[in-house]
């Protein structure tokens, strides 16, 4: 956000260490609640990446949605459920090693794919990168991407109605409890 591309490097490294470190902590923490908090901090780190990429609008939504809502829901669930009931820990070194190896293979293949694809050329010219203007995003959403926006809106509205239908309780009607 501030300074040129050369200023961002130490900040980038700090945010990267924070994000990856807390992500590992989220997996490895003994207490589930600390794992959930680490996950929230990791999401904050991702918001930091968006800020570094000159996309403050996306960064703010990342914080509002992921830290403000998703992390709260996860912590809420973790608090109400006993750890023993949730997991039977099967921890042995083979599984762990296999997991890490699998993760490295996936990351390496994804990276190779990205480097091989046409996206590669765009990574070089940071100097010409412009701030992603949220007004432009809004304009595009209502013009070029309007059909996609309408479909998304209908999907979300449908899922909200479905959630209401699922959460609706028949036995509440019998109690005749006034709510206002």
């Amino acid at each position: 956000m501030t300074g040129g591309p050369h200023m961002a490097d130490p900040i980038f490294i700090a945010v990267a260490v924070l994000t990856v470190g807390t992500a590992i902590l989220a997996l490895e923490a003994r207490e589930l609640i600390y794992g959930a908090i680490a996950l929230a901090i990791s999401m904050l780190g991702i918001a930091g990446f968006f800020l570094l990429l000159d996309a403050p609008f996306v960064a703010m939504f990342q914080i509002a949605v992921y830290v403000g809502a998703v992390a709260v829901l996860i912590i809420f669930t973790v608090m109400l459920v006993r750890t023993q009931a949730l997991f039977t820990t099967k921890e042995d070194k083979k599984r762990k090693g296999a997991g890490i190896a699998l993760m490295l293979i996936i990351m390496a293949s994804l990276g190779a794919l990205l480097l091989a694809s046409g996206l590669n050329g765009q990574f070089g010219n940071f100097d010409n990168a412009q701030t992603v203007d949220f007004k432009q995003i809004g304009h595009l959403m209502l013009t070029y991407y309007a059909p996609a926006l309408i479909i998304l809106g209908l999907t979300l509205a449908g899922s909200v109605i479905a959630a209401l239908a699922l959460a609706r309780r028949e036995d509440v009607e019998q109690q005749h409890e006034r709510t206002d």
Partner: protein, 422 residues
């Protein structure tokens, strides 16, 4: 009666004082002065009267008034001053302190009581300092079985989040610590931290009343978050910007948005009461039901920090109301153009900024009084009514004004080139 220790000698007392002064002088000479000079070499210093201020001359120059003023002027315009002092934390904390005192006296007068009376002769004006000293002196008791790291971290995080909201609030033209393009969104993003902190703190207390209070806080804040954001949305539509300074400027060039979006202002006011856990929405700390809610296990400065945080948050939300609906710092010019007539030296005083600060502070106090008012007259509401209000009524009300705002924009009344835009 004060008692002396048995082998007390006045000479030894004086001797110990002299030793103390000697040690302080040695430490200042060996550590303090070098530290000041190291800092001065790294801090950029302003030119004074055409002469570059060097660290060697700093101490001699600061005692000369004609040279002190430029230095003060330079210091006022640094980012550090903005973050720590004027639109930032000290200003907010000062308003928070005044709010606590006003709240106690104001509610007392409403209910025909006297309120704080004894500390400081005149109307208990020193009550706040006495309370603060008491809180600092009290022992902090951490409950057994509490999650210690979270128990200590949550109050600090609470104050830090409140201060982060304050950093985004402009108090006068160009006087803001962080002038970001997406200021309003940033405010709501930070406000999302508060339910998380309340929930974590209540869990860390390892006690059932705090936990019930924490769950209530979570329900309440999430239920009112959506009408809160929606009510600000109509202002965004009317002004066409998310930048808080931009929103104020668009009200200066037309009219205050409370005239165009009164329903939004009402929804915003109710939602901010719920967000602040103030009566009638104080279910998370309902003292007659669940001891003190999520604050039950707090003592000493942990309680002090949470109180400070919540009153700083009160200032921040009142200031946000002023910025969104009451035209921010707009107001008639009342301050004198010159403080000292005929003075032609370095100017620190700027009458437009002084006007802006005056009107902004006055409006903020007006809104704060409005937020304090329900505490004197209203009982606490039931939780199902609270959730019903948040999820059903306020969201619908907020939508009404969004459509009004859209009609005003598309009807050519407001917005670029509108009828009512000067």
């Amino acid at each position: 009666m004060a008692t002396y220790t048995k082998n007390f000698r006045f000479g030894e007392f004086v001797g110990s004082l002299i030793w103390l002064i000697l040690w302080i002088l040695i430490i200042i000479a060996l550590v303090g002065l070098p530290l000041i000079f190291i800092v001065l070499f790294y801090v950029p210093l302003p030119p004074v009267n055409g002469q570059v201020l060097t660290p060697y001359l700093f101490l001699t120059m600061t005692v000369d008034p004609s040279r002190t003023l430029p230095i003060i002027k330079y210091m006022i315009h640094t980012d550090l001053f903005r973050i720590t002092t004027f639109p930032g934390f000290t200003y907010a904390a000062l308003i928070a302190a005044v709010t606590i005192f006003i709240e106690r006296k104001f509610l007392a007068k409403m209910q025909l009581r006297v309120g704080p009376l004894y500390a400081g002769k005149i109307e208990g004006i020193l009550q706040l300092i006495a309370d603060g000293l008491k809180l600092i002196a009290k022992e902090i008791i951490v409950p057994s079985g509490a999650d210690k790291p979270l128990f200590w971290a949550a109050p600090i995080a609470f104050v830090a989040a409140a201060a982060a909201v304050v950093a985004l609030i402009p108090a006068a033209p160009t006087w803001v610590a962080a002038n970001v393009d997406v200021g309003l969104l940033a405010v709501f993003a930070i406000l999302g931290f508060f339910p998380l902190i309340a929930l974590l703190f209540s869990w860390a207390s390892n006690s059932k009343y705090p936990f019930i209070g924490g769950l209530r806080a979570l329900h309440q804040m999430i239920a009112f978050e959506i009408p809160f954001i929606l009510s600000a949305l109509s202002v965004v539509i009317l002004s066409g910007t998310l930048n808080l300074t931009g929103i104020v400027n668009s009200q200066i060039t037309s009219y205050w948005f409370i005239f165009f979006a009164p329903i939004s202002a009402f929804v915003f006011y109710i939602s901010s009461l719920a967000e602040l856990e103030r009566i009638p929405f104080d279910l998370p700390e309902a003292e007659s039901e669940i001891v003190a809610g999520w604050l039950t296990e707090t003592s000493g400065m942990i309680y002090g920090l949470l109180q400070l945080g919540s009153y700083v948050k009160t200032y921040a939300l009142a200031a946000l109301f002023v910025i969104l609906f009451l035209g921010g710092w707009a107001g008639p010019a009342v301050m004198p153009v010159e403080l000292i007539p005929g003075y032609t030296g370095v100017q620190i005083y700027n009458h437009t900024t002084a006007d802006a600060i005056l009107w902004f502070t006055l409006k903020v106090f007006g809104v704060i009084m409005l937020m304090l008012l329900p505490r004197g007259i209203s009982p606490r509401i039931r939780i199902d009514i609270l959730l019903h209000t948040g999820w059903y009524k306020l969201i619908v009300l907020a939508f009404i004004n969004i459509f009004v705002a859209l009609a005003l924009i598309y009807g050519g009344i407001l917005g670029p080139g509108g009828l009512l835009v000067r």
